[in-house]
Symmetry: C3
Subunit: 493 residues, 3 copies
């Protein structure tokens, strides 16, 4: 009976996101069946390693689904709900607070019509939490109790959830000075089947415009026992990269306002470093130093092989008042017009042909996909087109992305899907969404006789499993046999 009821929920419908036209739908279905059960590769994201290492039960539905998810909090805020009312920044929440936040979400559920947040949650609630109704003002308390009860069950602890999601590799994002103890803890758990690997996030250590740059550099030099010279600074970064590599990292992440790079004389870069350290660098000098450092980071990748993910063009923490009150990553990033061609030219002129370089480019200005990113990835062996990100990680934009870049680079220079999320429970839903959309896209190529069914079957497997692995040099098989077709998502019994 419950099963019947759940079967009517949109998140249970086998054809969700597949195209309506019957011929295309049939082809898309066939393709989807071939990859639905493949393990998830998540080479870039923001689930905190501590969450998995500590493996404590989630406190309550609000701290699972609302407060850490800036996709959700920003839209509620846009409809006039103060962030404080949602418990943002007040974690851990008292039960009354958590219930209030959950109630607001349920009451405002209709606001999410047409958004991926609705799609993901309507997938997660029935498929992971056995919820049998869509959220609404009238069932808010019932759903809260239902989910809250599940959260007390060991099967709903973070590590157990991750395992049930069939995630082969999950990358976290980490401060360069992290000791990565949580990752070590996870590796020691022989029964835990997901390979959780760190990622070194660098921008706050190379951009003097970052408020924390002076303190970060001092801490970096101290942690690596280096003196305050430019050579030591570079070596200290290399030290931490080596440390991350030894702990399984395959990539370094860099989020910047633009894609500027520069090839500077070492002495010039050193002089800029000294001025920035002395707090005397002008804005232009700070910018030039940062541009030069992006090239240095790429040079270090020539040597240690770390993939560089470049996330460009977002005015982060746009609202300074809210930033000061609630801290970063509360949903108020506003993208800008973003170019890549001119900014990357110095770096690519120097290192573009080097087999050690691997640069995955992400934008929030989708006009750059076909205009700059795909032409760059369609020429340089080391450049890849990063998957749609943040505001663009949704069905319509994902299809626009495929449409914009595929003709220029084919599939093999696209990164494969990247969830980039801190919302743990949404990971399988996001990857499943991407697989369905890729099947939808491929079904069009098949019905238009641009791809045979056999070719489409190869491509969908490549996009789902091989590409994210090869793009991020995930050559190992992790802790589990890779590629086994395991059912996904695994409904709890």
């Amino acid at each position: 009976m419950h099963v019947t009821s759940r079967a009517n929920l949109p998140g249970r419908h086998p054809d969700r996101l597949l195209p309506a036209e019957p011929e295309r739908r049939g082809i898309a279905r066939e393709l989807y069946e071939q990859v639905a059960g493949l393990p998830i590769i998540s080479p870039h994201g923001h689930v905190p390693a501590a969450l998995l290492a500590e493996d404590r039960p989630f406190n309550n539905p609000a701290e699972l689904f609302i407060t850490p998810d800036h996709y959700v909090t920003r839209l509620l805020h846009a409809h006039g709900v103060p962030l404080a009312e949602l418990g943002v920044g007040a974690e851990p929440l008292a039960e009354a607070q958590a219930r209030q936040a959950w109630r607001v979400l349920c009451e405002q559920w209709a606001r999410f019509a047409g958004t991926p947040m609705k799609y993901w949650l309507e997938d997660v609630l029935p498929n992971v939490f056995e919820v049998e109704q869509l959220p609404s003002a009238s069932n808010a308390e019932t759903l809260y109790d239902h989910i809250d009860e599940r959260l007390g069950d060991p099967a709903y602890r973070p590590r157990a959830l991750l395992e049930s999601f069939n995630i082969e590799t999950l990358a976290t994002t980490d401060d360069p000075l992290s000791d990565l103890a949580h990752h070590a803890t996870l590796r020691r758990d022989a029964s835990f089947g997901t390979d959780v690997i760190p990622t070194l996030r660098i921008e706050a250590y190379i951009d003097p415009a970052h408020a924390s740059w002076p303190g970060n550099v001092s801490a970096l030099l101290e942690a690596t026992g280096r003196d305050d010279t430019f050579a030591s600074y570079l070596a200290a970064i290399a030290d931490r990269r080596a440390y991350f590599s030894r702990h399984g990292a395959v990539s370094i992440d860099c989020a910047l306002i633009d894609a500027d790079t520069a090839v500077l004389h070492p002495e010039q870069l050193a002089a800029l470093y000294e001025r920035a350290r002395a707090g005397e660098a002008t804005a232009a000098e700070a910018k030039l130093f940062r541009a030069g450092m992006v090239t240095e980071i790429a040079r270090q990748s020539q040597r240690d092989g770390l993939v560089i993910t470049l996330h460009v063009g977002s005015l982060r923490d746009y609202d300074r008042t809210l930033y000061e009150q609630f801290g970063p990553d509360r949903g108020c990033d506003i993208p800008l017009t973003t170019g890549f061609a001119e900014g990357l030219r110095p770096l690519l002129g120097e290192l573009g042909e080097d087999p050690g370089l691997r640069l995955v480019l992400f934008t929030l200005d989708e006009s750059a996909w076909a205009r700059e990113i795909a032409p760059l990835a369609g020429f340089y062996p080391g450049v890849y087109v990063g998957a749609p990100w943040w505001f663009l990680d949704e069905p319509e934009a994902i299809l626009r992305y495929r449409s914009a870049v595929t003709a220029i680079v084919g599939f093999g220079k696209q990164s494969g899907f990247i969830d980039d999320t801190r919302a743990l429970c949404s990971i399988p839903s996001r990857h499943d969404m991407a697989r369905r959309l890729d099947c939808a896209f491929l079904s069009q190529l098949v019905v238009e006789h641009r791809l045979s069914k056999g070719e489409a079957a190869s491509v969908i497997r490549e996009l789902t499993y091989e590409l994210p692995r090869s793009t991020f040099k995930l050559t190992g098989s992790g802790n589990r046999p890779g590629g086994l077709p395991i059912d996904h998502p695994k409904p709890k019994q």
Copy 2:
């Protein structure tokens, strides 16, 4: 027989603009039936109030369909027809002139294939004017006579037309110094069911780069009995806003080349004012003053609650020669790359969380929809995504708009459809077009199981009726009972 013949016209087909795929078409039809008869809310447009107040018969078909419609005249001009040959700027036209203009339109009808101008006129001609043929060189005279005859019928006077269109609210755009006598005249007509409200158009009073700024400010100060100080200037603007509010205005319109705003010290702004008044402001100073004034306008909205519509990024009257010959708004606006994030940051940093702020953002650079406008509206309670405008007010762009913004903001932070037209007869056609396209868009979400039919039914009603009302704070019901499903368009018997 006539009815049969008209039924074959494209403008009579019940499924026009609905998707071809049968499952989607069925859903779209069902949705459309639910909103086809809802009253029209037109919270921003350019029908002159005088036209309705004076309620004189239209002079002839050319002055109804051609000379005032820069959508039509610009495309004929692009095909080599001189504006003078169409009677532009020569109104009132002698009959020979009017016939000539109409003949040109009919002869060139094939040039409009694929454009919304064709779609609108092919809707209006049979549905409002009982025309039974599409325009062509051979029937130009017949159609002219047919329409001209109708124009002599009282049922085709402006006010009667508006009523037959089932328009609940119609906003005009007015000079701040207008006495709004025409609006008063209309309110006195108890039998007239449309609520015609004024809108204060501000840019020529706050932008010293505007040729008419010096004269406008002098006139403003004189009209409000104020002396020439910055404080008086601000107060004079507030006076006119209050006057407009008392006469039913709910919004203030501002059309600028960019979205720059600034938060300046009052003394700095006053000094810039004085320099501008003295004709001594540099271009940069004039620009900074304008940016500061946008913030002042928003501060005034905190107090009086007027919604601000910001139309940004159009190089108006691009062709100076034609501008000097024919005046403004002849179709030669050319859009520019347009950003919003950096420009609006000062204003939003100051007022973004204020419940009194309401800012509806319009762009002609559609890359800004998903990149900047939707992220802003998806965070700030007071920011809304304005509907596609001018060149983008057409089926393909409207669907691209829904696709670009819905995932980011849902439906509730979109403005609802805005016709923004001076072509009175096209109003029902434009709104009907928007309703059909929204049904088409929603039908896709339904067949992909992203929205239930019930949810889609709520959304289509919200988009059609509630949203334009709530976005523009149209809380009253106007002069007629709101929301009654009245048949649209009402064919004359």
Copy 3:
């Protein structure tokens, strides 16, 4: 048997690229049948006139399909294949080299999934070369031998191929100092049915930032017997234009980084010329001179009527190292954000209403289509929207182009399809692709009742045949009877 086998190849499927939905597919098929056999008009492209004049057999499959085609070489390079391994820059290739290049292409064939290169080659191989298999690692040698054998057949010489493709007019692109002897040779061949016309490519003669500008100008002055003054320089350009016109040219091509134009006082322009000739012009002066010269080129078109094609916004030869090693046009152009409105305003303010001006605008930044190019072409009689080009010459982008510009300009101010290719064998495939996509686009307008079937039939014929002819003033009928529906492509017996 072979025929059966070929019928299963994607390049033989009658419905390729047509929409899946049955109603639309039926309409698209009907439309396609009406234009499939029309002669090809190719008013802008890069097939070398020498190739046709000399009419030597192609050396081998690699020099036909790989080394001259930067669409193919750039993507192989992006997958790590060094350009040298493909024989780029080493022509004529020894047989072993040619076989190696071909083998690489076959081995990497899967990399082309989703690209137009795959589509074109899968059309050309069976339809022109009677190949019965798709390329793969296992059949590389067999296919090489098969094609190589055909290349020895007189029917596969360049001129014979061109004739079999039913090309009515083919424009080449030529250095202004070319004697156009090859074109004369072709005109003397009474049995050759294609009208091969030259195009004058101007940018390296008007842009002092071009490395070859000083030498080019000296050569130009010398060739025309002029002294080194600005007046002579202008006259020398006019001389060459006249020479090209007498040899059949209808257009002049200009590829620039931006669309800047300027209206300068003749003395100012002359002074800039002198500084540039003396090697003393600053970058800003060189840019201003170039902007002024674009206006001069347009002024000359007022007099001689040559159409100007403006290709804007590509950072050419982005990778300097490869440029120095392999020369220009190796696939490493990277587009930039591109505006047209502000840049063209001076020129259009001066000449916009002149009936002699004809400017066809091409961009690689597709956001400019609806934002700037279509609004310009939708107002100015002399401005046309150029077809999608380079990275955008592919099915998805072509449909996005139609969607972006049609509502704004209708069909009559679009240029018609332009192949812009140096890959001779792909010409019929590219035009056939464009015809199919146009039918697909029109079928949507028909099913949505925005265009009748009859109107769509007129439009498809206009787009295919009349528009490219009228846009480029190809008023003559060439050497063959124009407009005859000849089967295309003609399979060899």
